[in-house]
Symmetry: C2
DNA sequence: TATAAAGGTGAATCCGCAC
DNA sequence: AGTGCGGATTCACCTTTAT
């Protein structure tokens, strides 16, 4: 990261770097207090209750029918503690972190963030304008995902919030914690060679645009420990922020690299 | 509770009873598996540290009640585990529970609910149409509170969800998990003899109306372990549900009783 | 009476720097 | 660490008072 182009050096302000591997393994190799903004979209495969995962997401064999619900929650919590702690070390003392999740995982994540010393600034609701209905009519249409925005500690004095910039998303009035944004569909949604969605949870660029514009400035370094399809780096690049993405699955890394090269190509 | 009028007996379907005391002490004396619906509005543990003034120098009357103060996260968690466990015992096997909170407490509450075996059905967002702005412009306007709707266990087969009834709140289409409802203000807000709000966190009846209509039927027993100003019993009564409220503060109990007697009087 | 203007208020984790 | 001060900071309602 210390080799990443930086505005002070005159290099490209919007350069990026993608690491392949588990963020719990890679984050300790990055210099501490170097990221101004972190956006994290962690996995929440809690429904796989019969399977127990180690904190690094490798599966533990041979325990399919012996582990109860608590064991599954506990392993997810330990995984969450580890990656959040690794992120906290890399986060600058005047930086902030965003974590997105659904009701399956966000309560556990939020509780652990508080326990680790993060201080919540807002819980932002991504209000999906076109959510998938509950087909059986046995629950309410699940129309939101929650983003927790937090600073590094309670006594942290400085952090970036571009209040005036965010007003443009609310008719010139103070922006609220409810963001109405459509799902990532259509041309923006990346498809594989079979025309199927290439990543199951690709986030809309409009969401990352608001995250990055609100809580970072040009030239700042944005970090995404679960890069996935690469939306964070792609939007950071468009908004002249440097970025680092970490992604475990080599197929997603390839996808993100291709996507970022594509943006490069279309802009030249 | 076994003496409460019941539709099967031909008695008043919308009778209510209010207990004075701490719900952790009182709930164990109620028969188990007897409540069809629980609505809980526990203390949020806001941890307000200083006075806040509007730009015109007027002071914001924040929540500084002693009942909202906890010494630590751990003591709040322990309190939460105790009242939730007591509620779970009283909840019928085909019943559901709602818990409302803000980002200050809802993550801890949700995590504990999952640990205790509750199975989340929805996280409903109360989207306030008239929230208090962030006067200093240092965060987003905090425009929501979260309601967790959960059944008693993962394998619970039966619970009440009045899908068709809820469609009326969304132009005949499937109701979503975002509920736009104004704050409780104006004539609905109960004032004391000095004209000040009599309870710092009175909930709007429209909110309870949706909760009760969606997940209970006429004659069902609704339980509120933190009754406060009595909104839950008042709305339950209007919707022909039996109800039990538990409230620690005798002044709030008196307030709720007066409110419910008032409704009785105006309806006769 | 009707309309307009003025005032009040809401579950809020709400400033930053110099001395 | 405590104090003082300059400066930037608000939205949708409802109620009361004035015209």
């Amino acid at each position: 990261m210390q080799n990443l182009p930086c505005p002070q050096t005159g290099a490209d302000v919007s350069d990026y770097r993608i690491y392949t591997g588990n963020c719990i393994d890679i984050l300790p190799d990055l210099p501490e207090k170097s990221a101004g903004l972190i956006f994290a979209d962690p996995p929440y495969n809690l429904q796989l209750k019969q399977e127990l995962y180690r904190p690094n997401q490798t599966r533990v064999d041979g325990v399919d029918d012996t582990w109860d619900q608590f064991a599954s929650f506990e392993s997810y919590d330990e995984f969450t503690r580890q990656w959040l702690n690794a992120c906290r070390r890399v986060l600058a003392d005047d930086g902030t972190i965003w974590v997105i999740g659904s009701y399956h995982n966000i309560f556990r994540v939020g509780k652990i963030m508080m326990d680790l010393g993060f201080w919540i600034l807002n819980d932002v609701q991504w209000h999906k304008s076109n959510p998938m209905p509950n087909f059986r009519g046995v629950r309410f249409t699940n129309a939101t995902e929650t983003l927790i925005w937090a600073k590094k500690s309670e006594n942290q004095k400085k952090y970036t919030f571009n209040h005036q910039v965010m007003k443009q998303f609310n008719d010139g009035k103070q922006m609220t914690s409810v963001w109405q944004i459509p799902l990532c569909t259509g041309k923006e949604r990346i498809k594989d060679e079979n025309g199927k969605k290439a990543h199951s949870t690709q986030k809309p660029e409009a969401l990352l645009q608001r995250v990055i514009l609100s809580s970072s400035n040009e030239g700042d370094l944005v970090l995404d420990p679960f890069l996935g399809s690469g939306t964070t780096c792609a939007v950071a690049r468009k908004l002249n922020r440097r970025s680092i993405g970490i992604e475990q699955d080599p197929r997603y890394v390839e996808m993100a690299e291709h996507r970022l090269n594509g943006y490069l190509g279309s802009e030249q």
